[in-house]
Symmetry: C2
């Protein structure tokens, strides 16, 4: 099932069910008005939403009378807030060790041994998420504005100390993420050791959040074998596979978060920048899948040429992040955001 | 006005208004059921709650007919969840530079120059707060269980880039905090630079959250001149003044958080461990106000004796944190928590 949150002037928006092909939507009125309500009471509410979803898909296909979906309307991603416009937790891993290796190699720093056995993870701000078409507003281009294309899951309640396997049972929904980063503010915050406060502004999410059955057999052992496309100013810069090279799967990321505390329903856990290894061609390394953030491209340039040549984003730049299924249809809808200056 | 959240089996509990002397309470039924609702719509709801509060104080004093407070009941802190049982943001500063200096001096590390001009701050988990009498549950004593006595404020909506002065206008409520810390997990997380995920388990808050008028002229230029008492296993170990020695005031802390993003209503911003400087007595330093966390006591012991002699908390230990007003009455009610092992 696919769920979205429509802008209605309120802080939490209105929950809508969206057809599989993303053409048609229906308010979840009568079941729940907000996605957090559904996550708080998943076993009771999700089957009811599933019934609306089934009816809506039949309407979208034109194959049957409306039934439960008697007031459908065309789905418009421009109307979307983040599926959870605000959340009680946003914890973002850095699960693709290849990304960490490249960034460290570029600055001639070693990767500490425990980075291979324990996920990196930071606690992010979750009070003010961006919708998929909301501008990335920034006061200063010089802060080094970057996108990060990621996947994230939304969890159920999970107990302290739970195992990665148990944690996987608690995955309710999956979304796309643009984990906007201000690269030139990061070194100082990293040095302090207290994590990212200023260098991670508001995070954006895809138009819809989907249950795992929507990605079918692409979901394997806690990893999603999906190709995440990143298109920067109309140029496809990344076609990265999110599956096999994910060093820590989502169950491991969630279990890391659960080590010393309970994790409550509606927590969002991110994968970190999706990153694929280079392949050897004629004795040279080639990063054929491109990149999911500019920092990684600059790291590669630094490794190859001694210095970066790609600049970070400028005001007016547009980043589009999308995943197409085997059938060629968009799974989550596209994040498409313009970078703008604070007026 | 003083507000609390009563346990009722739900995730967000029931909002109650509490009399100034903390003897009497009244459900906020008819105005709002949850504190977040009030913060979302403060200008509309808070005057209504204020009216109930005024009536309730008259009832508590036995001085007048009940009026709006016609169903009062005895206030019981054991019934309390955190005033916000879950929140969209919890960002904790480290605003008392004396604490940072002591901890660094003990490990012979310098305090970086920018620590005097920019607050340290970490983003904490906010999905699963503890009530004032909930146990601190921990899987392993060896993790180095510590309390941290702090003050925190709850904010209104505040815009990106707002000034410290503007930020102060957005302070809605103040609470006491026990920012539970697992000291032996901190060095590894600090070294990673990504902040605290496992070393900061669930945070606890005082029975009531209060508006700033409740502390009267103790609120001065963004600092609260209150004595925060920390009592560990019945022994008063800290009587720290939260006011003058707060290096960065709450407006500066909130503005730090706002530099690159909007801060939304109901965000909780903490002061960090309250810490006072030593005074010189007969050529020797004495920390007469005691300590608000064991780590600081151990730092002092290390500075004086070369090694720490005070152990962290054990299962069964009890920590009590409280502030008494000029009239000797408890301002926020007491946090009183037992440390227990995970069963």
């Amino acid at each position: 099932m696919k769920l979205a949150t429509y802008k209605d002037g309120s802080r939490d928006g209105q929950l809508v069910v969206v057809s599989r092909d993303l053409t048609t939507a229906h308010y979840a009125t009568g079941i729940a008005s907000r996605l957090q309500q559904v996550l708080d009471d998943w076993n009771f509410m999700s089957p009811q939403l599933q019934d609306v979803y089934a009816a809506l898909n039949r309407v979208a296909e034109g194959s049957s009378p409306a039934g439960l979906a008697r007031n459908p309307f065309p789905f418009d991603p421009d109307m979307c807030m983040a599926p959870l416009p605000r959340a009680y937790q946003w914890a973002d891993g850095s699960a693709y060790i290849n990304h960490v290796e490249l960034v460290r190699l570029a600055r001639k720093a070693e990767v500490p041994a425990n980075f291979y056995t324990e996920p990196l993870m930071y606690q992010g701000g979750s009070d003010d998420f961006l919708g998929p078409r909301d501008d990335v507003v920034c006061a200063d281009e010089a802060w080094g504005i970057d996108f990060e294309s990621e996947l994230a899951v939304v969890t159920s309640d999970l107990p302290m100390s739970c195992t990665p396997e148990r944690a996987l049972d608690g995955v309710r929904l999956m979304m796309l993420v643009n984990d906007v980063s201000l690269r030139n503010l990061i070194p100082e915050e990293l040095a302090k050791g207290f994590g990212f406060v200023q260098s991670k502004p508001a995070t954006a999410f895809s138009p819809v959040a989907v249950t795992l059955d929507e990605i079918g057999d692409a979901w394997r052992k806690g990893r999603a074998s999906l190709t995440v496309q990143s298109t920067w100013n109309g140029r496809k810069v990344g076609m990265c596979d999110a599956g096999e090279e994910m060093t820590f799967h989502f169950g491991q990321l969630i279990a890391h978060l659960c080590k010393t505390r309970n994790v409550r329903a509606g927590s969002i856990v991110g994968s970190g920048t999706i990153s694929n290894r280079a392949i050897e061609k004629n004795g040279k390394k080639e990063w054929v899948n491109g990149y999911s953030c500019i920092a990684e491209k600059r790291a590669i340039e630094t490794i190859l040429d001694g210095q970066p040549s790609t600049s970070y984003m400028k005001f007016g730049d547009i980043i589009r992040i999308e995943v197409k299924g085997k059938d060629g249809q968009s799974v989550f809808g596209a994040i498409e955001q313009k970078v703008t200056s604070q007026s």
